[in-house]
Symmetry: C2
Subunit: 345 residues, 2 copies
């Protein structure tokens, strides 16, 4: 390749790179309601809105086949994409699954992968409608595109949060990240001594959160039933801090998070301390939780407090206040954005 | 990986593998009009139909960066997907572009790739609405999903051909394959002697067909103007023989192709002979032409003969006749299906 200048992609970071690469593209069709810049794109068909999202999983980057069973990997590949559709307050209906495989994969190995895809399709009521199956020289590459739909008035973007809104999160945070730390540790022990058998029985919860996450379609269902439309919503794939950064940026607001209110599972607490890590740091920066982070109008407070597995963790403030963490010791820390470079080795 | 049986994926072939992997998936939504098994999937939104297709391009399999300029590669990645939408007689409006890149790619290299993506978006009036940008340990992976729309009554599937229909093809065939042969030859010469400068000036047409193909949106436009709806249509990505096999299988018909009528460019004729190849074999099995192969009702004959760059190459027969090539010497050969294994080294 002949180049006069060479800028390393890491200089821009993930979000900077995407901005840089896509900023010169113009929208040409009035049917394109939302292009690049949210969890999913939105297309107007004159009736329902079509919501589309795509995500890649790359061997050696997003998963390690030493400890990721292919069935789980198939399941997770679907789930991470469904999560993007749910985070628009839309319902996913269809997926396309593309894989590039080297010849070290047998038909039986692919069967296991597709068994996982099918399990996710059955669980979330999704139709597999297409994809591409091709060769690679090395490594397994997975790309899934998910398609959903929503009535225009029900969609939640990242940009609708207003000062005074309540900040909520589902489930618990940081577990998937610690699950990964456990798997990496066991892998190292195994590589050092192949006679050792990893015992993951005690850490089923954390390891399960890493290998077989779920998308919160259940929450979207409850929201529809309770007639709650989040003013803004995003799924937690890169960690709470990163998603808060996106909400602040897109909604042009500040956000105050109370450390003591961030839901953290007891196993996460325990294992974080084992690894000499701060549990709240795992929640803020760990990622891959696939929980929903959203803001609602204060008028919805009564409905929110009775919703199962939804936690109020803070509030939306004005832009000038920025993204702030109020610690349990009543200190205030500025939250910083973290993209893909954060936990990279 | 623990496996009791190991079946090599090549035993099933590309199409067998896709059938095998997807046959156990059930369609759950009435909005899913067409799932796996055509050029694109079709979703009913109650008004327009949404047509979706996805295709991957993998370094070392689909392209070689030694002779594929990144700008051309960006352009081609879009075009091969648009071609799938056009081949449904639909109009593409949006794309999602995902790439996985190793750290050997600079921002400038990605800029060149996206410059090609943008050139295709501008030329075909397409909105880039999303994608995923991620790392890979090795190799460049590209996945594009294209989304288009059509009125239900205008869509052309692979399964609508009827005995007596006219078989047509656009453009000319075999050129992209010979372009690849030239590029591979020049690469070998260069590797043997890096002082040699490849002179591709004389073979601009063939090399251009390989590196920067076009999708036949122009033909879809003329069809709409002339009010022609192909009874069946498919784009030529794997070679004429393979696409004829698909039309025969999906429409449950036979097809007779006349060798003398298959459009072949003079450069293709000349260079095929240089490579000791039969030009018709290049047209039948070469692939990557991204021309349209379609069948029309005999009542449309008058309209078809006046359409620019459309050639009548045969007719649809009954299933029992199978897929047959009538040679210029009046011999009859059975055409066999060819998938991805055909030209693999």
């Amino acid at each position: 390749m002949k180049e006069t200048t060479r800028t390393d992609v890491n200089e821009l970071g993930e979000f900077g790179l995407i901005d840089h690469l896509t900023k010169q593209f113009e929208i040409k069709h009035s049917s394109t309601v939302k292009g690049v810049g949210d969890d999913a794109a939105v297309i107007n068909n004159g009736n329902w809105l079509t919501v589309v999202s795509t995500d890649s999983l790359v061997e050696g980057i997003h998963f390690d086949l030493m400890y990721s069973p292919l069935k789980h990997l198939g399941y997770k590949s679907v789930v991470v994409n469904l999560s993007d559709i749910y985070s628009m307050n839309a319902i996913p209906h269809q997926i396309l699954v593309s894989i590039a495989i080297s010849n070290r994969f047998s038909v039986e190995a692919l069967d296991a992968f597709y068994e996982g895809v099918r399990a996710a399709c059955d669980h979330y009521k999704i139709d597999l409608i297409g994809g591409d199956t091709t060769s690679s020289n090395k490594g397994l590459f997975i790309n899934v595109t998910a398609i959903g739909r929503a009535r225009p008035e029900r969609l939640s973007y990242r940009n609708g949060a207003r000062p005074g809104d309540i900040l909520c999160v589902t489930g618990d945070l940081g577990a998937a990240y610690l699950g990964l730390q456990i798997l990496e540790r066991e892998k190292q022990l195994f590589l050092d001594n192949p006679d050792l058998k990893p015992d993951l029985e005690d850490e089923k919860y954390l390891v399960g959160r890493q290998l077989k996450p779920e998308a919160r379609g259940d929450i979207i269902g409850v929201m529809a039933k309770e007639d709650i439309i989040p003013t803004a919503m995003i799924d937690i794939s890169d960690g709470l801090a990163s998603e808060i950064y996106h909400l602040c940026k897109e909604s042009e607001v500040g956000i105050l998070v109370e450390e003591g209110k961030v839901p953290i599972h007891p196993d996460t607490e325990r294992v974080a301390l084992n690894f000499n890590m701060d549990p709240i740091s795992c929640a803020l920066s760990g990622g891959e939780d696939y929980e929903l982070l959203f803001t609602v109008d204060p008028g919805d407070l009564e409905k929110i407090v009775t919703m199962p597995d939804v936690y109020i963790i803070g509030e939306v403030t004005v832009k000038e206040q920025g993204a702030v963490l109020k610690t349990t010791g009543n200190n205030f820390h500025r939250l910083t954005a973290q993209g893909w470079t954060h936990f990279q080795k």
